[in-house]
Every structure is written in C-alpha cells, then in structure tokens.
C-alpha cells in the first residue's frame, strides 16, 4: 500500500527553510526571477494551450450529444404528449451540426499536427507532442462513436419498424394501417435502449389494435360523414399511406444499407490504403527493374555491334533468340497483376519500348 508522504515532505521543506535562515544561507532566487522564468516557459506552451482548446471543444460536443441523447433515442413517436419531443428535422439538424463540429475538430487536430514539429529541436518533445495529438484524436473518435451509435440505433429502429409493418401484410385493413405505424413507434418507446424483438411487438400489436379498432369505429360513427364517404376516405387514406410507405421504404432501406456498409467501408479503406503503399513499393521495384533491363539491352546492343564488327554472326543469332525470349517473358510478367495506378501503365509502356528495340534489332 502506498504511503503519502507529501505532508512529510512539506514539513521537511519547512525544516530546511528554517535551518537555512538560521545559517544565513541565501534563499534562492527572488520571486521576481521566478516569475520571469515562468513567463519564458509559458511562451513555449502555445502548443499545449491550443491542444487544450481542442479538447475543450470536443468536450462541448460530447456534452451536447449526451444532453440530447435521451430525447434523440427515446422520444421516437409522433404522437408523444406532454414531454419535449424531437421531430425528425430536429434530429437531422443535430446530426448535421455534430458532423460539422467533428470535421472542424479533426481539421484543428490535423493543423496542430503539422505545426507541432515546426520549431522544436528535441526528439523527446516531438514524440511527446505526437503522442498528445494521438490522445486527442482518440478522444474525438470516442465522442464520434457516441454520435454514430445513436444514429445507428435510430436507423435500426426505422428499419425494424418497416420490417414489422411489412410482416403483417394481411392486417393491412383500413383502420389498422394508420394505427400500426403509431403502435410500432410506441413499442420502441417502451424498450428504448434494448433491441427490438419483432415477435413481441407483433403480439402486442394485435390486442392494442383490436381494442383501438373498436374505439376508432365508435368515434367515427359519431361524425356526420356518411358511410360511403367514410369508406372513400378510408380507401384514400390507405392509398396515401401505401404510397408514403413505399417511399419511406426505399429511403430507409438505402440508409440502413449505407450505414452498415459504411462501417465495413472504413475497415476496407484501411486495408486498401495498406495495399496502396504495398503497390507503391512494387511499382518502385518495377521501375528499377525496367531501368536495369533497358541498360542491359543497351549493353547487349553494343555487344551486338561489336560482335558484328568482329564477324561472329552465329553467336548473334543465339543471343537474339535469348534476348527475344527474355523480353517476351517479361512482357507476360508485367501483364499479370491488375494494377490500378496510372504509373504502372507507364512502366508497361517503357518495357514495351525496350522490347521494340529488340525487335528492331532483329530486323537488322
């Protein structure tokens, strides 16, 4: 168990001070010098100040998200009574604001990163600053996760809602359809933080809908509308709701897919970036190899001429064959992998140039 001896230390400080006074030892720098020293130190702390600013901004974002989180997830229905509810437009506004904010913070971090290494000599300070920026970025990521979590919940609910309403196609008679969206939205309200289980809510749908059907029917009967008009209105309602549902269907479908796939996308982009660096490396190698081949070809050509000059023709034939087969083999090798960088096409061109020079030679 650790023992806090800070008080003991303070006591030692006092002892030493009194001892020094008694012995007449100088009391160290005066207060003024201390302030001067501190002032000098403070100018170096510009980086830290800005880092702290970014952190406080991210903190504000986090508070903002947490504050509205309950409303965001919880008050999902359209017919919520007394409490403050959030319409979808408000939610979209929150989403947009959060995104802008996150982008600004990310930019600020990036800027700090480039500036961090500017006027610093010591390697340790550099490492320290890099690590600090990593921490801040991590913090931002965690806060962004908050945001994306609640967004994912929202989208999931919508998908499930759609799935539910689609799962009861035979119950799509007139009175049910305006009711079912409401009932479905009530159910997520009940289990706001848990996963939606479709069977449960389906079961709850039935009795609720039944009871309300009676009420609805009674309510309508007291109006002045005639039965034909009721039926006409109900049919029109049904048609409208069907149309709306279809539209919403498509939009939510796509949104759901996109959200899930974007998560995968993130992972894949990382991998692709890795691959890109690998490809760059390979490209460097290829270019180097091409250069080597070119030079080799030059050398061989020189030798050709030399040989020709000396009259060794039969050797030339063998050499030609060898060179031709070699260049053809290289062509094949270049053809195989599927590069997507434009420079690789350039290297392909270079190589074919080299082989063309060989062909030119053979005609000679």
């Amino acid at each position: 168990m650790a023992v806090d001896i800070t008080l003991l230390f303070k006591a030692s400080v006092k002892t030493v001070k009194t001892r020094n006074k008694a012995l007449g030892v100088a009391a160290g720098d005066s207060a003024r010098d201390e302030l001067l020293k501190r002032g000098a130190a403070r100018s170096k702390s510009d980086f830290t100040g800005r880092a702290r600013e970014v952190i406080s901004n991210i903190g504000k974002l986090k508070d903002f998200l947490l504050q509205h989180r309950k409303d965001y997830i919880n008050a999902y229905s359209h017919i919520m009574s007394e409490y403050v509810r959030m319409t979808d437009t408000e939610r979209d506004q929150i989403d947009q604001d959060a995104q802008i904010f996150m982008r600004t913070c990310a930019d600020a971090i990036h800027q700090l990163r480039t500036e961090a290494h500017k006027d610093v000599q010591s390697a340790q300070v550099k490492e320290h600053r890099t690590a600090v920026l990593d921490f801040i970025e991590d913090y931002l990521k965690r806060v962004c996760k908050l945001y994306s979590e609640q967004r994912a919940i929202r989208v999931k609910r919508v998908i499930d809602k759609k799935r539910l309403s689609r799962l009861e196609p035979e119950q799509s008679n007139i009175s049910k359809s305006p009711l079912s969206p409401e009932k479905n939205s009530q159910n997520p309200l009940d289990d706001s933080e848990e996963k939606l289980s479709s069977e449960e809510s389906k079961d709850r749908n039935m009795p609720d809908a039944q009871s309300n059907l009676g009420l609805w029917g009674d309510g309508k009967g007291e109006d002045e509308l005639s039965p034909e008009e009721i039926q006409m209105f109900e049919q029109e309602n049904q048609r409208l709701v069907g149309e709306m549902n279809n539209l919403f269907d498509e939009v939510r479908q796509i949104e759901g897919k996109v959200v899930e796939i974007s998560r995968l996308q993130e992972i894949f982009t990382e991998k692709v970036l890795q691959q890109e660096t690998d490809i760059d490396n390979i490209h460097q190698l290829v270019v180097g190899a091409t250069e080597n081949i070119k030079e080799g070809n030059e050398d061989i050509r020189e030798m050709f001429f030399y040989c020709l000059g000396s009259g060794f023709m039969f050797l030339n034939q063998q050499l030609q064959d060898f060179v031709r087969s070699y260049s053809v083999r290289n062509l094949k090798w270049y053809n195989q992998p599927d590069f997507y960088s434009p420079e690789s096409n350039g290297s392909f061109v270079l190589c074919s140039e080299a082989t063309n020079s060989h062909r030119g030679l053979s005609f000679f």
Binding site: A2, I5, L8, D29, F135, V143, L146, G256, K257, E260
Partner: protein, 632 residues
C-alpha cells in the same frame, strides 16, 4: 488473497500512474497526458506487468530512464518511479533545478529516509520549485512479479543477493547484514502490497533464519506503530477478517542443490533453461531459413527476435507447465483450428461475391452483411491467434533444436532415475564419456546431481575415474570442490533428502506427434511422461501447511509478528492447516520448483501458494556461481 500478487501490484502501479488517485472507468473521459521517469529498478518492476500500449492507455506519452539525457518538456506532469538511492536523488534534484517539467509526482519504490527527503526539499527550495512538487509517495513495490503466483526480489543488483554472495566463505558480518537488509526490505514491501501479515517458519541455522528474525522484527515494529502502520484500514482486504493468515516458509537454497541443476521437461522451465529468458521475455537467434545460398552471396544473417510471454497469451498460460511433447501437439492443434477459421472467412468472402446482387430482399442482404461484419470483426482475433501460434512455433522449434542437439531427454530421464534411486541402465561413466550427448556443462550437471543425491560419497578410485572422464569431456571441476564442501557440511546437519520413488515412463521412442506429420519431428526424442513427485521444497511446504509431524520440519522456528511477545519456541500456536502459503527461497530459485509447487497445490482444493526467490537462475548461471565458489 485470492487475487494474485500480480493483480495487486498492477493495481498499485496503475493507481500510481493515475496520480495516486484510484482510476475511474470513463470511456469518454478527457485525455490527460503525463511523462513517466523510472530507473532500472522501476523498469524491471513495470515491464512484466504493463506493456507499452497499456502505458499509452493510461496517458503516458513518454517513458524515460532517469539517468538519460532528458529535454525540458513544458506543461506536462512528470511521474517518477525510482529507488531512493544517492545518485537517483541527485539526478532528481538536478531535474528540479533545470525546470524540466511542469509538476513532479515523486514515487519511491521503497521507503525513503528522512535525510534524503530533506535533500530533495533543499533542492526544491533552491530551484523555487516547491509548489511544483505535487505529491511524494512511498510505494512499497520493491519486488518483481513474474507470474500470478511468482515473484523475485530484483534483477538489477542480483549479484548482491546471489547464492554466491550469501555463501561465500570470506563474507564479513557487515556485508551479510546489508544483504539481509535488502532481502528483508523487499519481503516487507511484498507483504505490504499483499496486505497480510504472515506466520513465519524457517529452518534453524541458515541464512533463512536470519531473514526470518529481521522480517519478524520489522513487521512487529510496524504493527506497534499505530499511527503509521501499513496494515490497517483499507489495506486489509476481506480475507483479513477471517482467521486465515498466510504461512511464510523461508527456506535456504542449501537444502536442495540438485533441483537447480536438474534437466527439465516442462515448457516454461525448458525455455528458461535452454534459451535466453528473463523478465518474461525470450530472445531468440534465428538463422534465415534453410535454402541453399549460392557461393559468393552474403553469409546467412542471424536475426535476433524477442518475444514477450505474458499473461494475455492464453496458450502460454495453459501450457507453460506441460511436458514438452504435449506442447508440440497443442501447437499443432491450434494451427489446425486457426486454418479452419481462416478457411471459413475465405469461404464467406466467396459467398458474398456470388450472392450479393441476386437477392433483393433486405433481410437476406442484411444477414450477409451481418455475417461479413462478424467475420471482419473476428479478424483481429484471428490475427492475434496467428501471431501467438507463430511465436510459440518459433520458441518451441528453438527448444526442440537444443533438445535434439544435446539429447536433453536422455539426461532428464537419467537424472530422474538417479534422484528417485531406481536402477540405472547405463553407467554414469558411459554417460559422461559419450561424446555426442550434451555439452560439458550438461555432463557436469549430471555428475553433480549424482554426487549430491548419493547417500555416501563414491570411493576415491571411482571419483578419480569420474574426474578424469569429466576433464576429458571438457568440464571445469571447480563446482565439484564446492559441492564436496557443501556435502560435508550438510552431512553433519541431516541426512540427505530423498526425492520420492517414482520413475518416469517413456511412452516409446516414436511419439504420435511424428505420425501426424507435424513440423515437430520428434523422432528419437522420447515422449516422457512426468510422474508427480515432490521436490524437497514441496515436501517441506506440505508438512508445514498440513501441520504434519515430520522430523525434517519439526525443528523449524515459529514467528508470529502479531503476538505481543516474541518467543523462541518451535511450537506453533495455530493448530489448523493453512489455506494460503508463500514459499520463499533465500539464495535463488528456479522454474522447476515453481512448477512442482503449482502441481502440488492443484491437487488441493481451495489452497493457494506463492513462490518467491531472491534471484532466479537457470542451471548455467548456477554452475557459474558454484565454480566461482569452488575456486576460492
């Protein structure tokens, strides 16, 4: 005490790194950054427990050695974790004067003396930095925990407390005192961290007794001092309210010199014996593959690789005590299961490619997406598994090479037979003069074990014969001199301890492993099964813990720091068997004993044992110490 010592020490370290405030779990907490400064002692303590990543998670941006060149880093609190020695204090005062950091949190590994504290105070006043020194703590963490239930005292200055240092014939009293003080200080820190006051038992007339007396005195003084006692209040866990106190058994290395020389067959002990392994890190030298390299090319480069064998390595935790062939098989199995999982992921990939566009319904797509998501998220797990398999394949292959080159299995079997006094099928002389089995050191070990465990010394003629054979094989005979002296000494004390009467049963020359066509071609290596046998240390523990009466241990002294008056009796006041025990070997220990204790305690339900030693050596290092002793 059900929480192992490793957990306790880790918790203490994490708290220290959190400015000595218990850390709060907050997933969206603001980042705080700090710099950690340690000396070599601190480094040895922290490195088996916290990885660099964990340090990062706690907000440490830089971790530096105290005595390195450090640049001023503005606006960052610095946490120091050092021993309170003169040079460390001087360096810290220098730091204060140079205004390197914004605030200072000083943590001393063991308690700092008043005068040194005043030195720091002086420097702080001189540098006008008193307000910057935010907190000063005595951490009482002066020991290194290697496993959940194993600790050593120190690594940096282990020559100071080595077997050789304690048993030197020319040791002075003051030197002995210093050594004992160091050991007791560390043991005291250990018990403070554990939060328990043990009942101490030790044998008479050994270094262990000196340690016991001093430890008892120190614990007693601390308990009496009610104001500053370290054992009150929140340090006591729930276990302290029970009547169970742990038993501390202090033994001296001299009761059993054969075990450190023994060739071994369990994975962890083998790695320690054969490869370069300390503080849970193994360093391997690998040659780059076995392809033939054309003449004129660069010579084969040897890569140095080092691996950390930590608590999070599940394979290691499971198999570190298993016999080696079992380990080889398990690596094979892990590799196969990993390959199966990899195939599953690949199959999923191809399915996704085919079925992605055909199905229109959302549910189908989201199912596939979900499957893919789960496959992708299990990828890091899979990669981690692969890394572990690679690691263990490399380590096990290296060990296997050594085994095959030195025929360690033969030695193991032979030594087991010697130690259990069963008949030997090959004479010792043959073993020693056999040119391909083992290095000269192996032969020396074998002979020393034979010498130690035989009831009477071999006759002069035989001895001369052996000596000649040994020198022919290239051994240095200095350890033998020392062992002779030791034997003469202990003969006066008691009869040599026996090692139990079990024999290892070889399961045939060709193990099943070879038949499955694995990488570990173990042909010619016997697949030996270890029979449970109790080493002397384990037997002593058994007697003391179960309150058995045994002539060996009846004479042991009994200390209880909580009793008001110390008594010199050997009669224990407490008649019940103990549930928890700590075995501490003064003079050095090794993994074989540790493994033996673990195996013993596994058979007992609900009992725990911790193993500690003043230093950890393998047979090579021990032989070196013995030869140094024998040369005097």
């Amino acid at each position: 005490m059900a929480a192992g010592i490793r957990e306790k020490q880790t918790v203490a370290l994490k708290r220290m790194l959190n400015f000595n405030v218990p850390p709060v779990k907050n997933s969206t907490g603001e980042p705080v950054w700090k710099v950690l400064i340690y000396d070599r002692f601190g480094q040895d303590i922290i490195s088996p427990l916290l990885s660099v990543k964990e340090l990062r998670d706690m907000g440490i941006t830089l971790h530096l050695l105290l005595h390195s060149d450090r640049d001023p880093i503005p606006d960052v609190p610095a946490i120091y974790f050092v021993m309170p020695t003169e040079e460390n204090i001087d360096r810290m005062c220098q730091d204060l004067r140079n205004q390197l950091y914004e605030s200072y949190y000083l943590n001393f590994i063991s308690a700092i003396s008043r005068s040194k504290l005043e030195d720091i105070a002086n420097a702080a006043i001189g540098a006008n930095a008193v307000t910057q020194v935010a907190k000063v703590f005595d951490q009482y963490l002066n020991f290194i925990t290697l496993e959940d239930d194993m600790f050593v005292l120190c690594n940096q200055n282990k020559e100071l407390v080595s077997y050789r240092a304690i048993n030197r014939p020319d040791i002075t009293d003051t030197e002995m005192e210093t050594i004992m003080d160091t050991i007791v200080d560390s043991l005291f820190c250990f018990f403070v961290t554990l939060g328990a006051i043990p009942i101490i038992r030790c044998s008479r007339g050994t270094a262990a007794e000196m340690v016991a007396v001093k430890l008892d005195k120190k614990l007693r003084e601390n308990l009496r001092d009610a104001r500053n006692s370290l054992f009150t209040g929140d340090t006591l866990g729930a276990g302290q309210f029970s009547f169970q106190r742990p038993l501390l058994v202090l033994v001296d290395r001299n009761i059993d010199l054969a075990t450190p020389l023994h060739h071994t067959w369990t994975y962890q002990a083998l790695v320690h014996d054969v490869l370069d392994f300390h503080l849970n890190r193994v360093n391997l030298e690998e040659s780059t593959g076995t392809e033939s390299i054309p003449a004129g090319a660069r010579p084969k480069k040897k890569n140095k690789k080092s691996y950390d064998l930590t608590a999070s390595d599940k394979f290691w935790q499971k198999h570190k005590g298993s016999p080696f062939p079992e380990v080889a098989e398990s690596v094979q199995q892990e590799l196969e299961s990993y390959r199966a999982q990899e195939d599953e992921v690949k199959r999923l990939k191809s399915i996704m490619g085919i079925e992605g566009e055909d199905e229109g319904a959302i549910s189908m797509l989201s199912d596939n997406t979900a499957k893919l998501t789960s496959a992708v998220s299990s990828l890091p797990e899979l990669l981690e598994k692969k890394r572990l398999i690679d690691l263990h394949t490399n380590v096990a292959t290296a060990v296997l090479e050594h085994i095959k080159a030195r025929k360690l299995d033969v030695y193991f079997e032979y030594e087991e037979k010697i130690m259990s006094k069963s008949t030997l099928d090959k004479s010792l002389l043959d073993m020693i003069s056999d040119p391909d089995a083992g290095t000269p050191e192996d032969k020396m070990r074998l002979f020393l074990i034979y010498y130690i465990s035989s009831a009477q010394a071999p006759s002069e003629i035989d001895l001369e014969q052996y000596k000649k054979a040994l020198t022919d094989a290239g051994c240095n005979l200095a350890p033998l001199n020392y062992i002779k002296q030791w034997k003469a000494f202990t003969k006066m004390a008691s009869a040599p301890t026996s090692y139990g009467n079990t024999t290892p049963k070889p399961l045939g020359l060709f193990s099943r492993v070879m038949n499955t066509g694995s990488q570990f071609v173990m042909e010619g290596v016997k697949n030996l099964v270890l029979k449970q046998q109790n080493l002397p240390v384990t037997r002593i523990l058994d007697n003391l813990m179960e309150m058995k009466s045994n002539p060996e241990t009846d004479d042991y002294r009994y200390f209880d720091p909580k009793m008001l008056r110390g008594s010199d009796s050997s009669v224990p006041r407490n008649k019940n068997p103990f549930q928890e025990a700590i075995v501490f070997v003064v003079g050095g220990g090794n993994y074989i004993e540790y493994q033996n204790l673990i195996d013993y305690i596994k058979g007992k339900q609900g009992k725990h044992v911790l193993y500690g030693c003043s230093e950890l050596f393998n047979a090579t290092q021990f032989i070196k110490q013995l030869s140094q002793l024998g040369q005097k």
